[in-house]
Amino acid sequence: MNLYPFAAEMLQILIILAIAPAFVGWVRMLKCWLQGRTTAGLFQPYRDLMKLFAKDVILAENASWIFRFTPYIVFGTATLAGGIIPMLSVDLPLAASADAIVLVALFAIARFFTSLAGMDIGTAFGGMGSSREMTIASLAEPAMLMAIFTVSLAAGSTSLSQIVQVVFSGQSVLRPSLAFAFLAFVLVSLAETGRIPVDNPTTHLELTMIHEAMLLEYSGRHLALFEWAGMMKLTLFMALGAVLFFPWGIGTGSIIASGLAFVFLLLKLAAAGIVLVLIETGLAKMRLFRLTEFLGSAFLMATLGMLSFFILE
């Protein structure tokens, strides 16, 4: 057997780990430019992570093992997710071990434990954060799955690399079903990655924060792991959207192809970042109960995509 796929696998994981902070930095830079602020530079996130890793850990008295275990599992799932999304090459060994549904489930694991960690301490905010997180998730996940199902119905498979190949080799990408699915995907990924208008990653105002509220008690390396995993998650969603709906330049085997794919990936991510920033600056954060409509419309999009797949195609 040729070791190439495993090499590609490792490479991809490392790359994701590496570029995730950069992507976040890129997004922040763009935002600053749009809002006319001076930027902290593309590499600020790396510095933050370094600092956090260096710091000691401060735990609340009644923090149980769950509280300490969670950062690792969150990080682990994020890494695995990074391994199974075909970004550089379509034949990744890990990609076969987990399909789109598993991908969603992986993020669900992370969320599950994060919410538990939020409740572990026993402050009002932690509980509030978990409650809201789970609420949003339980609305977002069906939409997410519906979007993925639409694509996988079109591709006749749920395995990501298979989907990518089919869509890649597919003659026209202007299939209405995919278009609807893409729209749904965008909305959902805003919710999943906790961006405006669903959640504000930078706020620490108690009553508005959702994801942050759960991490309130974290510090040191634990917090660092959370932050890093969060960055990876954002990057991964962007990358997933990119490869699922715009799979041009994805590698199909050779090293060169993968190198090419890497370049394409960077370009796509850059573009995705721009879109993201435009959305975030364009919109304001919603009230919690407006989210029903937001995610409902995402779900509607996905459903329409599926219907149009059966009706139009």
């Binding site: 000691d56 609340a60 008295e61 009644n62 538990l116 409650s131 789970m134 339980s138 459903t303």
Partner: protein, 681 residues
Amino acid sequence: MNIAPIELAGAAVILLLGSAVLAMFLSRFQHLLVAVSFSLASVASLVALVAGAWTVSSNIANQAVMAIGLPDLPFHLRLDPLAGFFLTIVGGLSFFVSIYSLGYVKGIIAQRPVTRLVVFYALFLAGMFMVILADDALFFLVAWEVMAAASYFLVLFEDEHLENRRAAFLYMVVAHVGAIAILLSFGVMAGLVTGFEGFHGYTFDAMRQAEYTPAWATAAFLLSFFGFAAKAGVIPLHVWLPEAHPVAPSNVSALMSGVMLKTAIYGIVRVTFDLIHVFPWWWGALVLMLGLISAVLGVLFALMQNDLKRLLAYSSVENIGIVLIGIGLAMIFTSFQLPLLAALALTAGLYHALNHAMFKGLLFMGAGGVLHAAHERNMEKMGGLIHMLPWTSGLFLVGCVSISGLPPFNGFVSEWLTFQAFLLSPSLPSPLMKLLIPMGAALLALTAALSAACFVKAFGVTFLGQWRGQHAPQIHEVNWPMKLGMIMAAVCCLFLGILPTLVIDWMDSVPEHLVGSKISTTAGAFGWMWLTPVARERASYSGPMVFFVILAVIVIAYLILHVKKGSIKRVPLWDCGFEKVTQRMQYTSTSFAMPLRRIFGFFFSIRERVKLDPQAAHRAFPGKMHYALRIRDRFWGWIYKPLVDASFLMSRLVGKLQQGRIQTYLIYSFVTIIFLLMVTR
């Protein structure tokens, strides 16, 4: 020497009946009684488990006839892969629970004599085994009702509480009406076979051979499905379930939720796939629809509960729904002659049945542990138990993760398979089906997400944070038998999650018997690591890979971060600059579920009342607030109350017939004569 599996199973039943009889004599020595009879029960369950597993793997069906019952209609027994599979489920969980009971029931002796509990526990197990083994209508119903009656007495165990009596009564009535419906459906099937010149029409064999006219087949199906659905707690026939399961002793609730509901599933599969075996697609559609409704509403109701065991009971409704989804899909595929897909869907359903037995049993055992330790069922009063019950909480967490359908545990596998079955619906010939069935997938996804939320709440509120009561009680970890029972169940959850291919290989004889196709050829095609139900290109999942990669990453990260010894400082909570935070400020289960209650409120009849303290200076600064919330599911008002009222009205009318004056009675007989003479003349 060579013994058939069915003999083993029979031995198990006899052992249980024997222990029930024995228990009546031992009732004077309670401790001995508990020790003896529950060890007997666990042995019996183990034997049954072996028999079942053996049957399934060896893919044989052997029969037996017991010369009891009616001389013309002796009890027929049959152990085929389907029966074997369910025998494995029941045997497995009841083995764990019996071990668990050794410790659990010992704790009850102090409060009350447990003879009743012990006797009916044994009868209950025996009843379930017999239901699965039965191969003729009479024996099946006898076993069915023995099971029902025994569980009724178990629910009634603490009979001085009103709620127990209510629950038991409701349970019994629903169960019995369901049983009569099943009886009638057998009547239909047997009637078509023989026309009642003899008794042999009552055997399942005869029913298998029968040719059914569509109308009669439908009647039989609807009747039996009604009966079984009533037992399985399918919405809208579920009302008894959340009443009965919580009030029973926890080991019993574990069995009732874990495996008794499965016997109903068994019945549905047996009747549709085996006895009638030719059916139109809309039966499947009906089952699928009810399954979806039960799944979604069940989990929503579960989310709203504050009583831990009640929450678990409602989540059983949800899981039964998921099982039915698989079975419904299988029925649809079968009716369109797509055996492979049917096999996939059926496997998904049955696999979920197996999984649910394991994790629901585990969860109820855990709840029992909490009850046993903290004497509290209301989550609003609990919290922080993870520090006092490390084992119980850990094992409970395993259950929560599994039931929330998260990899690498078992709940995910069956949900994943069900999703795959959904996504294969485009190969159906009927365009309508094509269009509608994937919508079901969305509902299933919603169910999964909600159940995750539900169990975050259950675990978080019960075990995490701090004790919400006034003063934390002295709570000790549960004793070893209880731990052991839970550990075994937890291990099963993990095993079923990581190595589904082996299990599916093993249980493949079931779909082969029922729908004439098997998925293991494709499922295991790429080795034991890869679960690829239809084809590798379609979808693949590798439990071990996921598990080990995550584990590896965690370990690596941990090691890297601990090369240099970073110190850990313990400090009091950060109170965000507020007053000192007290444990009363924690999120309770009610407040946790509030957003979802707002969003899905229209499913419930909610009465929410906030009363401000009148002598507050200004209503912006109330002295104290009184908050009352009451959530009911609407079905009670929609279906059951009207029925009850109607029957009481009816009885009032009937009562008017008889108001005491003898002349009136004479007139009755006078009129009767005249009337009859008119008729006959």
